[in-house]
Amino acid sequence: MTLDVARIKGDFPLLSRKVRHDLPLIYLDSGATSQKPVAVIEAESDFYRLHNSAVHRGAHLIAEEATDIYEGARIKVARFIGAESADEVIFTKSATESINLLAYSLGQSDTKSSFHLKPGASIVVSELEHHANLIPWQELAKRSGASLRWFPATEDGRLDLSNLDQVIDSSTKIVALTHQSNVTGAITPLSEIVKQAKSVGALTILDSCQSVPHFPVDVRELGIDFLAFSGHKMVGPTGIGVLWGRKELLNQISPFLFGGSMVTSVSMTEATFADTPRKFEAGVPNMAGAAGLSAAVDYLESLGMEAIHQHELSLNDYALAQLKEIAGLRLIGPYENIDRGAVFSFTLEGIHPHDVGQSLDDRGIAVRTGHHCAWPLMKKFGISGTTRASFYLYNSLEDVDRLVEGIYETQRFFTARGL
């Protein structure tokens, strides 16, 4: 193991919680939201205690300090993902807002723009998408008359790229894909997709909610156009997300939310808008959230994104070997430890995911059950839901043992009762 998990667990107050029957908590729900280290919690509270003031607005010292912290967070995030400049980083409330922002803004592209959508144009997604990277594009397709296409999922929960150049063709204006599936853990191989998208002049948008927190992501290396993620899944605070975009594109597209601090002039009937990032950040932003996100990036970098990735690969090896052995367990996702994150969605023969989750919860193990906001994928696999255990930097091999043990106990419990 490359991470000192025992020490890391100590940084996260919630992980020493006791739950049902006074059991220590085994938190395996980081795919939904991650826990927060003390450094992040204190960055937020220090902001409120010492520097709270409206950024870009006040004529006083505290406002200067708040602005420094907020813009400092932008610079830090920009470096973290390899952006060309801080102007390419827009703070939103969540990945969901980031993606919706894009869908609304691109939908406003005027008829002369190469991104203008009309009947005959297509938008490409996949069967693996989280609802957040599916429904905004469904709605944009409806509004614009463009058609929605998708890559199917393979049997082991990866993207089926066998028809790459039929799916992305000359009609395609937008390719919006998940970077890592929140259900199957499959990591999307991007180079061929980006090449094809580029060759037809389509924009590539990456939902990196499940990638940026888990392995090194460099937007320039990937060659994509836009990227969206949430702070709360990367040991950061709730209520802050990021949209990254190439600067020349951000300057081309329309603003989304209108209000204070995003204008260059305003009359009663007309307004003109500032350049990126200001034009996309109307209103007083989540300043404490930015301070917390900045501390989250520091925390992740202090461990090293590559080390975090290696840690998850070790967890994968250890978990996959054991999960394979459990009779009646069907993994929804890749069985081999290649291009996958430490996310294990599974069904148990004869026991409904809800009942599995309940039983694990009773043993102090926190997992998620249901469709994981990826309903079409469930339908594809002919199931109504899965139980999902998702691991992160604070999870140990012992946590895997506890999960496996919990699954066996669950099977025994329900089998003993005739299921």
Partner: protein, 147 residues
Amino acid sequence: MVNLESLYQELILDHYKNPLNKGLASNPSASVHHVNPSCGDEVDLNLIVDGELIVSVTWDGVGCSISQASTSVLTDLVQGKSAQEALKIIDAFSEVMSSKGSIGGDPEILGDAVAFSGVSKYPARIKCALLGWMALKDAMLQAKVIR
């Protein structure tokens, strides 16, 4: 603190394994489809009434033991009752479910459904337990036997 044993009582798992009135009867007075969007559990329910009287409640569905068993118990419980009586039972059951474990429920009214009282300690499961019950209420509204 409720434990797993008291939540998953034998009666519940029995109904889950051998559900009553499963399989939709034809020519219903009202037919409804309800979903629990947070987990994907689904129930289709057909109601046949004769005047105020509930003649049959049949259903089909997929879901967890709690949702399936509670629907099974419900359909058995209301058969042959008046719509008003059925509504009283549903309301009593809803009250138990929202009681956070403080109300066990009156067996005179709820019959086998008292077995589900442990569910009210688990907020995420209450919707499971109520799925069929809310479907029946909806069906009775559609059939205009309650308002």
